[in-house]
């Protein structure tokens, strides 16, 4: 028991209370103290990002018509990445620390605990922070490089805007991850939401992009509300929003948690986790708030890769990992997280199986994999979840970038029925290889892929947890489905007979270009060729795939290599999941408490899973091979088509995303809209009507009294005489004592 408490001390890194009171240290272990002064240069991480933003904004202001903003961004983000590495070096040698920057929100009304609301610009640096910052800045640099070529057709138009928002995103993400309090986290949280909004709506002339951006922001706001309420509850209960102090407060409850005595933990404290969870579900696209992420693919592909696959969507995972102690002291919170994650994983996988748009398939796979991560957190294997975040970031980014390269080259074509054999076309070799690597990772190809190891950790954790067996089965099923739909894409698009039909974006920009020929030419399409004529007929005849250039290829190559390289830190360094494991164990995300390890049919769950999940993954790939590769002669058809009727309406429903969007529309948006119209009518005719009626009242009285002003002399005289008589009578009666 005391040992666990000691570990907790190390994990919580919060032994020193906010006001200098030394928390009682458990015997035998010196508590890990949080250094008050972290490395000053941690500030540079967001500063470089915001500097990139400001410079890009300046470029926009001066209407720079070159690739300058891209190089600024790449340079600044690379610098951020370098700083992240050195911060990591500092943290690994000095332990967790807080770097204070400046005071932000201070409302102080007393000296005691809870009598001040303090949220500073200060950074909480521990290994979890470093893990996230390393891959965020690293991937951001690479993707910025990729985007410098990918967005080149917009140079001088939206190019500046793109990179400004891109840099702002990295800044926000840095605030989110490095925050030392919930409020700064909230700033980053909403900041990434804003950038996501701006970047999804990058092609703002497309109504669908605008709608998707709006949807993303609003759905995220729903989650944000829960997060905000969670923060408030946290403040009310702990009297602070700073992690250090909050974790110090949680520490007491951890003991009850370890003893399983949840009834000794105040319900208010337990509720915090549920509210924070809502925020995480929104940002990380989990049930029931996942609907925005597939639509978010309207944005440029680098955005999808960075924001909607690798980094921003893992913010929810980060939040839960960061506040893991708060989740642990809540009796059902982690169970809820696990269930929501598992169900999301399954649901998204089923939808992904039935889609034809390869980017959308990737989007649903992202939702599904995020579900995995949540399930991992929920079954108390935060290490597995973090590792999956880490590996997923690389291979999913790579998958998106590969899809983006295809889209870029084939004029926005994403339909897997209209593309085939891309990987064997000249100039597309690297894309094909990168895609294969990504697919192998995503499908969990045994042993040689990093994705296999991280997914395996989650599966093993689920089966090892005695309360999460059913979650384990769901996840296992999902793993098979994932392997199938991943390779469905690969087998149909990248191998097999060569065939392509260009996308509709050439036409699209024709449609746009009627009255704004110059603007429309460069805007509103993704990957269209400027060199091509506007003539529709000519477009389809003369179309040549536009093979990716050096920047895209370089990035894909780096990512493909790193997707394998990340196995090294996972497996070469001792401990569960090696380096990532160390990073997580040394931070607040460490899972504590002892539970009995459940067995998987008598075997150790982790070891058994290595075999079982390998088999499942390979089986998925095999099915995909049989259905979508073997004997396929054209792009549009495959053996799978013959199987479809066997599933009855299910396939159709899955293709229509189980009608969830329609359901939400019918259940929430429509009633709200009706309500809004109703309110508008009420406001006009009832609320304002009453006011007008009040205004009408004097007028009505006046109209009533109007005949008395007949304008006739006699009338007035009569009134006057009568009035005098009445007045005299009154005076007489009043003054006479009877």
């Amino acid at each position: 028991m005391t040992t666990l408490t000691n570990i907790l001390h190390a994990a919580l890194t919060g032994s020193i209370g906010q006001h200098g009171e030394v928390a009682h240290a458990a015997a035998g272990a010196a508590p890990v103290q949080i250094a008050a002064n972290g490395p000053w240069y941690a500030v540079l991480i967001p500063v470089f990002a915001i500097a990139a933003f400001l410079l890009c904004a300046l470029c926009a202001a001066f209407k720079v018509k070159s690739k300058l903003p891209a190089w600024i961004t790449v340079a600044c983000l690379a610098a951020s990445c370098g700083v992240s590495a050195s911060v990591y070096a500092w943290v690994s040698s000095h332990g967790p620390a807080i770097t204070y920057v400046f005071d932000w929100i201070h409302v102080v009304w007393g000296k005691d605990k809870g009598q001040s609301f303090v949220a500073n610009f200060a950074f909480y640096l521990d290994t979890l922070t470093c893990l996230w910052m390393l891959f965020v800045t690293g991937l951001a640099t690479l993707i910025a490089l990729y985007a410098s070529e990918y967005m080149s057709h917009d140079v001088g138009q939206g190019y500046n805007r793109f990179f400004a928002a891109f840099s702002l995103f990295v800044f926000s993400m840095a605030c989110l991850v490095m925050a030392d309090n919930f409020i700064l986290l909230y700033l980053g949280w909403e900041g990434v939401g804003l950038c996501s909004y701006l970047l999804i709506g990058y092609f703002y002339k497309k109504p669908s992009a605008v709608a998707a951006a709006k949807k993303a922001f609003i759905v995220n706001r729903i989650g944000d509300l829960f997060l905000a309420l969670g923060i408030m509850l946290c403040f009310v209960h702990f009297g602070t929003v700073e992690y250090k102090a909050v974790f110090a407060g949680v520490e007491e409850y951890i003991k009850h948690f370890e003893a399983g005595e949840f009834n000794k933990i105040p319900p208010v404290a337990q509720w915090i986790a549920y509210l924070l969870m809502g925020g995480a579900f929104g940002k990380s696209a989990q049930l029931p708030l996942y609907v925005w992420l597939p639509d978010a693919m309207e944005g440029p592909t680098p955005v999808s890769a960075l924001i909607h696959a690798a980094t921003m969507v893992t913010a929810g995972v980060f939040l839960i990992a960061r506040t893991y102690p708060i989740f642990m002291i809540s009796q059902y919170a982690l169970h809820s997280v696990a269930w929501v994650g598992a169900l999301t994983a399954l649901l998204a996988a089923t939808i992904g199986m039935a889609q034809f748009d390869i980017k959308r398939i990737m989007a649903y796979s992202t939702v599904s994999q995020l579900g995995y991560m949540f399930a991992g957190l929920g079954v108390m294997t935060s290490v597995g979840a973090a590792a999956h975040v880490f590996t997923h970031a690389f291979f999913k980014a790579m998958l998106f970038l590969s899809c983006g390269a295809v889209m870029h080259g084939f004029a926005g074509q994403l339909d897997l029925r209209k593309l085939s054999g891309v990987g064997s076309m000249p100039g597309w070799r690297i894309v094909g290889i990168a895609m294969l690597v990504g697919c192998l990772n995503l499908a969990g190809f045994p042993i040689i892929t990093a994705g296999f190891w991280s997914k395996d950790a989650i599966l093993g954790g689920a089966f090892a947890n005695p309360h999460a067996q059913s979650i384990g089965w769901i996840l296992l099923l999902t793993a098979g489905l994932t392997a199938y739909y991943t390779f469905r894409v690969y087998f149909r698009v990248f191998v097999g007979p060569q065939h392509f039909e260009p996308g509709d974006e050439l036409h699209a920009h024709d449609d746009h270009g009627h009255d704004h020929a110059h603007a429309g030419h460069d805007h509103g399409h993704d990957g269209g060729h400027q060199s091509h004529s506007h003539d529709k007929a000519a477009a389809s005849h003369d179309f040549h795939p536009h093979a990716p250039g050096w920047a895209i290829n370089t990035v894909l190559a780096i990512l493909a290599i790193s997707a394998f390289v990340v196995i090294l830190p996972l497996k070469l360094i001792p401990g569960e999941l090696g380096w990532v494991g160390q990073m997580v164990e040394g931070s607040t995300a460490r899972a504590v408490g002892h539970m009995e390890h459940a067995k998987f049919f008598g075997f150790d769950a982790h070891q058994a899973m290595m075999v079982v999940s390998s088999v499942v993954g390979l089986a998925g790939i095999a099915v995909a091979f049989v259905l979508h590769y073997a004997g396929r002669t054209s792009a549009a058809t495959s053996r799978a088509d013959a199987l479809l009727p066997a599933f009855g309406p299910l396939a159709n429903w899955a293709q229509h995303k189980w009608y969830v969007d329609e359901f939400y529309d019918f259940l929430i948006r429509k009633p709200l809209l009706v309500l809004a119209h109703l309110f508008h009518i009420i406001d006009q005719y009832l609320v304002d009507g009453l006011v007008d009626a009040a205004g009408y009242l004097p007028r009505a009285i006046g109209r009533l009294l109007r005949p008395s002003q007949s304008g006739e002399l006699h009338g007035y005289a009569l009134g006057m005489a009568g009035g005098v008589a009445a007045l005299l009578l009154i005076v007489f009666l009043a003054t006479t004592s009877w």
Partner: protein
């Protein structure tokens, strides 16, 4: 004639006048006033309406003089002079207006003018 006038003038001045005697005059005054008022209210001819106002002035004058007699104070009579003045002024103005109005509508009917109707 002289006799009659002397009899009239010798109605006790400067002796006191009894309140009961005073009330006779006041009753006449009130009656005359009310008759004037009713005339003002019922007649439509502008000139007669003005005559009725003069009747009311007259009634007021009687009351003033009667009270002055009762109190042996001449301010009552002085006020009648002022009433007379006002009546004269009013007559001048009012009649000028009546002529003006008559020229405009060819009628003395007070009901012809209803411009103040609300």
């Amino acid at each position: 004639m002289i006799q009659v006038l002397q009899t009239l003038a010798q109605s006790g001045f400067p002796d006191r006048m009894h309140a009961a005697t005073l009330s006779h005059f006041l009753l006449v005054s009130a009656l005359m006033f009310v008759i004037g008022l009713i005339g003002f209210l019922t007649r439509r001819n502008l000139i007669i309406m003005f005559l009725c106002t003069e009747l009311m002035f007259q009634a007021a004058g009687i009351a003033l003089v009667a009270f002055g007699r009762y109190h042996l104070d001449f301010s009552g009579q002085t006020f009648v002079i002022f009433v007379l003045t006002v009546a004269a002024a009013e007559a001048a103005m009012a009649l000028a207006l009546v002529v003006l109005l008559f020229r405009r509508r060819e009628s003395l009917n007070a009901e012809e003018w209803k411009e103040l109707r609300g």
